[in-house]
Each structure stands twice: as structure tokens, then as C-alpha cells.
């Protein structure tokens, strides 16, 4: 079973992300900030993490640094999902070990495409008419 940890301080965003990712066959756990997310990962590494940047207590960037230093912490595919849409943030995230990056606002097509990029969702070919 593929698992995805959804980390966002907005319960609305978590709910939307959960619905989309469940349709893509992920089992979902949620966390409201980086610290909570780290606890979840220490208990059991998820297959993927959908990660907000700006959150109270511990932000997504700091979480990623800690995650990648945990035993087995290089395994989860980390997909940022944030309103920090500048090239500088994207580059920093990639340097810190993020696998993909979603610029908010997002929808089902974008989430699907990005999880295809990291190899966790099979490709669907689309017929134009």
C-alpha cells in the first residue's frame, strides 16, 4: 500500500489533498506542522510526503532537512506544495532534497502529473477527442 503524509497547517488544504491522493490509491496520514510530520516519519516512513512550506512550529523546509538525516529518511518522495512560487524557493527546496514542487493553487491534474513525475502514479495517456 502506498502511503502519503500530507503536511499543511490548513485543514481545508489537507482535506482537498487527501481526496485527490486517495483517488490515486494512497493511504493518507496528516500532520499540521513539520514537528508533527517528523514524529509520523519516525514511527513509519511514508512512501511520499506532500509538504507545505510555511507552517507554525517547524516549517516544511526545516522538516525536509531533518527528514533526510533520519535513518531511511532518504526514501520518501517529497513533493512541496506551497504558495512560495519563486525560483529561489524552488531551487532551495531541490537542493535540500525535494523531489518535486507544486506551486499553489493546485488541482487534481497537477497533483497527478507531479506524482507521475516521481514515479508513484502510473501514466495515463489521454485521447484528445
Amino acid at each position: 500500500m502506498k502511503t502519503c503524509l500530507v503536511v499543511d497547517d490548513s485543514s481545508v488544504v489537507r482535506k482537498i489533498a487527501r481526496r485527490i491522493l486517495e483517488e490515486l490509491d494512497f493511504q493518507i496520514t496528516e500532520a499540521e506542522d513539520g514537528e508533527q510530520a517528523l514524529e509520523v516519519c519516525k514511527a513509519a516512513m511514508p512512501t511520499a510526503v506532500l509538504l507545505d512550506w510555511n507552517m507554525p512550529v517547524m516549517d516544511g523546509y526545516e522538516f525536509l532537512g531533518h527528514l533526510r538525516r533520519l535513518p531511511g529518511g532518504d526514501a520518501p518522495k517529497v513533493v512541496f506544495c506551497t504558495t512560495e512560487n519563486g525560483m529561489d524557493h524552488i531551487s532551495r527546496a531541490l537542493h535540500a532534497g525535494a523531489n518535486e514542487y507544486i506551486m499553489k493553487p493546485f488541482d487534481k491534474d497537477i497533483v497527478t502529473a507531479k506524482f507521475q513525475e516521481v514515479g508513484l502514479v502510473a501514466l495515463t495517456e489521454q485521447c484528445p477527442i
Binding site: N85, Y101, M103, I110, A113, K114, Q116, P128, I129
Partner: protein, 290 residues
């Protein structure tokens, strides 16, 4: 939409673009032409049809354009680009080693995602292509989409469909909510307006032709005709890439499937029956007013 209006549009689209709509595509027409009627300031499809019957060539051109323009995205379907990187280019690097030049045609280049995906794939091959001259020609029926392709400017939504983030960072520059592909990549793609129903022999001979998701619009005879002319525009050891829902099988023997590579075809060496002058409907001024 009234049945006579639907029939009128079907015939018009068939004559002007080869688009062959079956009897049940009302929804497709409505989804494309209602936004256009708003843009033109008319009440609906009925009034659009009236204007075309009254001789408005600019409306005809816009209707054809709206019906034949498709959503596309970077590295669409992925597999064809893997074929390009892993099969087509390695073979051509050997076969063209003395000539050191490769010509690629995107026959439905649309808003540029496909030709620029090929350009990025080539850049990613790095020094293997040092000293090679590689041309990418992107053609499309629609001048409007070609202009967008030339600009290389995409929305935040468009750059998040199919484009790996590493390639976005590497090859695009951000300008607010918009992203523009680098001048170097834009310089790798040439743009030409072209209706596939018309003669395209002036484009010359190609090593690779991407012709994806465009032939599905045409009826069988038109497809056969276009395959024949594509084969004549291709080197004997070239490659044809079709869309996921398309095939030559059962239509023509001028191309044969490449074993185990779905969507990939090569010329068979068989000659197609040659229509005079090479065009299907030379007299139709397809995109009237252009």
C-alpha cells in the same frame, strides 16, 4: 444548436480543415464555440453560423481554429520522448555520423510544448551532440497558437503539467505568474504555419516526424493521403511518431510499426499511390483571411 446548424458546421470543418466530426459531437462544438461566440460578441452558435453564411471569412477562420486547437502539455504521454531519447537519437547518431545533421518536424506543434520538450531532451543529451546541427520545425494550422509557441511563455498551470521541476528550473525564467523558456531553446525551434491538407514538400526531408493527435481528426482517405506524403517527406531510415490512439495499421503500408515501441513507425520502402501535385484539396483556401 439546431440540427441544420450542426450539419453546416460539420461540412464547413470538413472542407476547411479535414476535421471529420461524427454525428454526436455537439458537445465538442458547444464547448469550443460558445466561448468563441462570447469573444465575438454574438448571442450563440446560431448567430455564428449566420455570420459565416453571410460571408464572414474571419469568423470561419476563428471557428476552424477553435475546433482544431488542442490542449497540450510538456512531455505529453512521456513514452514518445523516451523513444526519442533511447531509440531514435542513438540510431540517428550512428546513421548520420558523417553528415552530423538531423531534421525534426513537429507536424502539430501547437503552443510549443512538444517542440520545446524535444529541444530540452536534446539539451539533456549534452556533449553527445557537440558539433551536430539539429533543426526542429514546428508547424500548425493555427497562427494564434504558433505565436504563443514562438513567445515560449506559459502559465503556472501549464508548466506544472508534465514538466519535471528540475527542467523548469534549468530552462525557464520566471516573470511573475508566467514562465518563459530560455532564448537558447526558443532559438532551436523554427515555426511555420501549415495545413496538413496542403502540399508540404517545400519543408524538405526529415529524419524524425512527430505527428501526434492530429490525424485522428481526419477521415480515412485523408489519413492515407497524409501518410503517403509524410513518407515522401522522410528519409528512408527515418522515424514517425504517432499519438497514443493512432496507428498506420490497416490504413497504409508506407510505414511499418517499430517492434515493441508503441507509437513508433518507420518507412517500409513501399510507395504510396501518388496523388497529382501531392495535395488533397489544393483549391481550398483553408485559413481564409490569413
Amino acid at each position: 444548436m439546431t440540427p441544420p446548424d450542426y450539419e453546416y458546421l460539420r461540412k464547413l470543418l470538413k472542407d476547411h480543415s479535414g476535421l471529420d466530426l461524427s454525428a454526436d459531437k455537439q458537445y465538442l462544438i458547444e464547448s469550443r464555440l460558445l466561448p468563441l461566440s462570447r469573444k465575438c460578441g454574438v448571442s450563440g452558435i446560431g448567430e455564428l453560423v449566420q455570420k459565416m453564411k453571410g460571408g464572414s471569412l474571419s469568423i470561419v477562420a476563428q471557428v476552424v481554429e477553435a475546433m482544431t486547437t488542442n490542449e497540450t502539455f510538456f512531455f505529453r504521454d512521456k513514452v514518445p520522448f523516451e523513444h526519442f531519447r533511447d531509440t531514435i537519437m542513438p540510431e540517428l547518431l550512428k546513421a548520420r555520423a558523417s553528415r552530423k545533421s538531423i531534421r525534426i518536424w513537429c507536424a502539430a506543434g501547437s503552443t510549443g510544448q512538444e517542440p520545446y520538450s524535444l529541444a530540452m531532451s536534446l539539451k539533456e543529451m549534452g556533449t553527445a551532440l557537440a558539433g551536430w546541427r539539429i533543426e526542429i520545425i514546428a508547424t500548425d494550422l493555427s497562427q494564434e497558437v504558433l505565436e504563443k509557441s514562438k513567445s515560449g511563455i506559459y502559465s503556472q498551470f501549464e508548466v506544472q503539467r508534465g514538466l519535471p521541476i528540475q527542467l523548469l528550473v534549468k530552462y525557464f525564467k520566471q516573470n511573475g505568474e508566467l514562465w518563459q523558456i530560455s532564448p537558447e531553446l526558443r532559438g532551436m525551434v523554427q515555426h511555420r504555419q501549415l495545413n496538413l491538407l496542403h502540399d508540404f514538400s517545400q519543408l524538405g526531408t526529415f529524419d524524425v516526424i512527430f505527428c501526434r493527435n492530429v490525424l485522428i481528426y481526419f477521415d480515412q482517405d485523408t489519413k492515407i493521403n497524409i501518410f503517403g506524403r509524410l513518407a515522401r517527406a522522410m528519409e528512408g531510415d527515418g522515424f514517425l511518431v504517432l499519438g497514443a490512439a493512432e496507428t498506420v495499421v490497416g490504413l497504409t503500408d508506407v510505414f511499418k510499426p517499430f517492434p515493441d515501441k508503441r507509437g513508433l513507425y518507420r518507412p517500409s520502402g513501399a510507395r504510396a499511390a501518388s496523388p497529382q501535385g501531392g495535395t488533397l484539396m489544393p483549391k481550398i483556401a483553408a485559413m481564409a483571411g490569413r
